[in-house]
């Protein structure tokens, strides 16, 4: 017994030493800006953080189809309809890339969708706002995709290889969508007085929720410090938000539209635009599930999944029969 216990202790110490060596190798790789790949050792918490973030990102692509798909059947020209359909299709594709990337960490798409449907994993709060006019499609392209790109371009250099590579592909398409959204708003802004008003109203409603997409202020952001050490995140929420505001102000001017913030003004000393306070109470309410469309969005997603169950079962049953037959032929 004594020998066994001693052996066990020895084993634990060996494991501890091995883990310490792995940790050091991991830290060194991250510090040297090397990419962590699926077969590499990684800390459990690193893995968990990535799964959480990538799943939330994938869910946002899937839920984010809804507010825009809401206008596919009403798009006012065939050209715009084609652009919108292509965009919504791209979003489904982005969701698929991201679920695949998350699966390299040992989870599965089914498990992640189940967590989305049961409310255990979140999606971006922005998609809980309604698209009330055609101009909202443009405002989403310009502001929401613009904010997403500002957030996501640094992720192309994220320390986890599969995520970084997915982001390279996604950011290219997102930039294209963002330009299309801007161009849609420009056409409205230069159109009839009613179209101009429609564009201004949409920007008024989407501006603040877009600023909230960067997350809580730095002093309240739970995951930020660790994510920055691990180089999953490269800039703080407030830095990215400021960068976004600085980009949008001149774009709004060239659109001939105003941003709904009386405090917005150039600060010569900082070399940035100052902007007014964000309503964090609203942000928290939307995150808690009390936004305008939370219930509607998740209900539609669950319904599509539930009503599609028989189709997925049929595909699985057919595949099983087919592989049985192949097996029988081989035997």
């Amino acid at each position: 017994m004594a020998t066994a216990a001693a052996h066990q202790t020895h084993g634990t110490e060996e494991r501890r030493a091995a883990t310490a060596a792995y940790e050091q190798a991991f830290d060194t790789a991250v510090a040297a800006d090397e990419r962590i790949e699926p077969r590499d050792w990684m800390p459990d918490a690193y893995r968990a953080t990535l799964v959480r973030q990538m799943a939330q990102h994938a869910h946002s692509e899937i839920i984010g189809m809804q507010p825009e798909a809401n206008w596919i059947t009403r798009a006012p020209s065939l050209r715009r309809k084609a652009i919108l359909m292509a965009k919504v299709q791209d979003e489904a594709g982005h969701g698929l890339y991201l679920y695949s990337a998350a699966e390299t960490l040992g989870t599965s798409r089914e498990e992640l969708l189940d967590k989305l449907h049961s409310g255990r994993q979140k999606y971006s709060s922005i998609f809980n706002y309604p698209t009330l006019t055609w101009a909202d499609v443009g405002a989403i392209g310009w502001l929401v995709d613009g904010a997403a790109i500002t957030n996501q371009v640094p992720l192309c250099r994220c320390s986890y290889g599969p995520y970084a590579r997915a982001m390279v592909r996604i950011c290219k398409e997102e930039s294209f969508h963002q330009r299309q959204g801007y161009e849609l708003l420009l056409a409205l802004s230069n159109g009839t007085p009613e179209q101009h008003e429609m564009a201004q109203d949409a920007v008024n409603r989407w501006w603040w929720p877009s600023l909230m997409m960067f997350g809580p202020p730095d002093d309240e952001s739970a995951h930020s410090a660790q994510s920055m050490t691990w180089k999953i995140k490269r800039h703080s929420n407030d830095e990215l938000r400021q960068r976004f505001v600085d980009i949008c102000v001149p774009q709004a001017e060239s659109l001939g539209l105003t941003l709904p913030d009386p405090d917005l003004k150039w600060n010569e000393e900082r070399g940035h635009y100052d902007f007014g306070p964000i309503d964090w109470t609203e942000f928290k309410e939307v995150l808690k599930g009390n936004g305008p469309c939370n219930e509607q969005r998740i209900t539609q997603r669950r319904r599509a999944h539930e009503e599609g169950a028989w189709v997925r079962e049929a595909a699985a049953a057919h595949a099983a029969k087919h592989s049985d037959r192949t097996g029988a032929r081989q035997a």
Binding site: I72, R74, G93, A187, H305, V311
Partner: protein
């Protein structure tokens, strides 16, 4: 305008263009509702191909947006088949199987000729081959899947059967006669249904109520509501550009 464009038979361009436009719209209604993410991509992809075809065809007949957004129900020339509501996934697949098989045969013939539709058909026939394959594969999976999917696929194939005869009525100004493709269509669809373990639907493939009706601007009831949704924004802002 070139001489070739001026001689495009408007009635035929509208018939083919409206088929593509209306079916594209129906498929667009699936966005965000598909049973699996891969089908979000596939259905949107097919819808986009069809919309692309519609835009070329309608532009041969006039201004694409005027034709899509400012015609009344009675002026649309699409088949009644393509305007049928989506129903469940099996219903959508049956509609797609019947139509894609027809469209593939039609475009292959048009592409082989030298008429005004040959260039469009030559490009579109490749897209439609993919649509047809997608519909066939799903017919096999659903027909030869579970008991429930078999029953749903059987009901869908039955329900839409009576709209299939209209596809083979002559189209004014088209340089091929769709009637000549009917045997090949039947053979192909029968083969897919048989491999999917589904019975061949019984009953007429057309009657006095459907024969050539869509092509003459006589549509089914749900079509007017579809147009109301599709056209309302465009019609609310006369003369605006988007």
């Amino acid at each position: 305008m070139t001489a070739a464009q001026t001689t495009v038979p408007t009635t035929a361009a509208l018939a083919l263009g409206d088929d593509a436009l209306v079916l594209s719209h129906r498929l667009g209604e699936w966005a965000g509702h598909a049973p699996v993410l891969e089908e979000e991509v596939a259905l949107a992809n097919i819808a986009l191909d069809l919309l692309g075809q519609a835009r070329v065809l309608l532009s041969m007949a006039g201004d694409e947006d005027e034709l899509a957004y400012l015609r009344e129900e009675r002026a649309f020339r699409n088949l009644q088949l393509v305007e049928q509501p989506n129903g469940d996934f099996a219903h959508t697949i049956a509609r797609q199987l019947y139509f894609s098989t027809y469209q593939h045969l039609l475009y292959a013939e048009l592409a082989a000729g030298d008429g005004p539709f040959a260039p469009l058909a030559a490009k579109a026939v490749k897209e439609v081959a993919y649509h047809r394959d997608h519909a066939e594969q799903w017919t096999l999976r659903l027909g030869d899947g579970t008991d429930e999917s078999h029953e749903r696929m059987r009901r869908a194939a039955d329900a839409l059967w009576r709209f299939t005869g209209e596809m083979f009525r002559p189209v004014d100004g088209l340089d091929v006669d769709p009637a000549g493709m009917e045997a090949a269509w039947l053979e192909s669809v029968e083969d897919v249904l048989r491999r999917a373990t589904l019975p061949l639907p019984e009953g007429p493939r057309a009657g006095g109520w459907t024969a050539g009706a869509g092509r003459q601007g006589l549509h089914t009831e749900s079509f007017g509501r579809m147009l109301a949704e599709m056209q309302h924004l465009h019609r609310s802002h006369p003369g605006a550009t988007w």
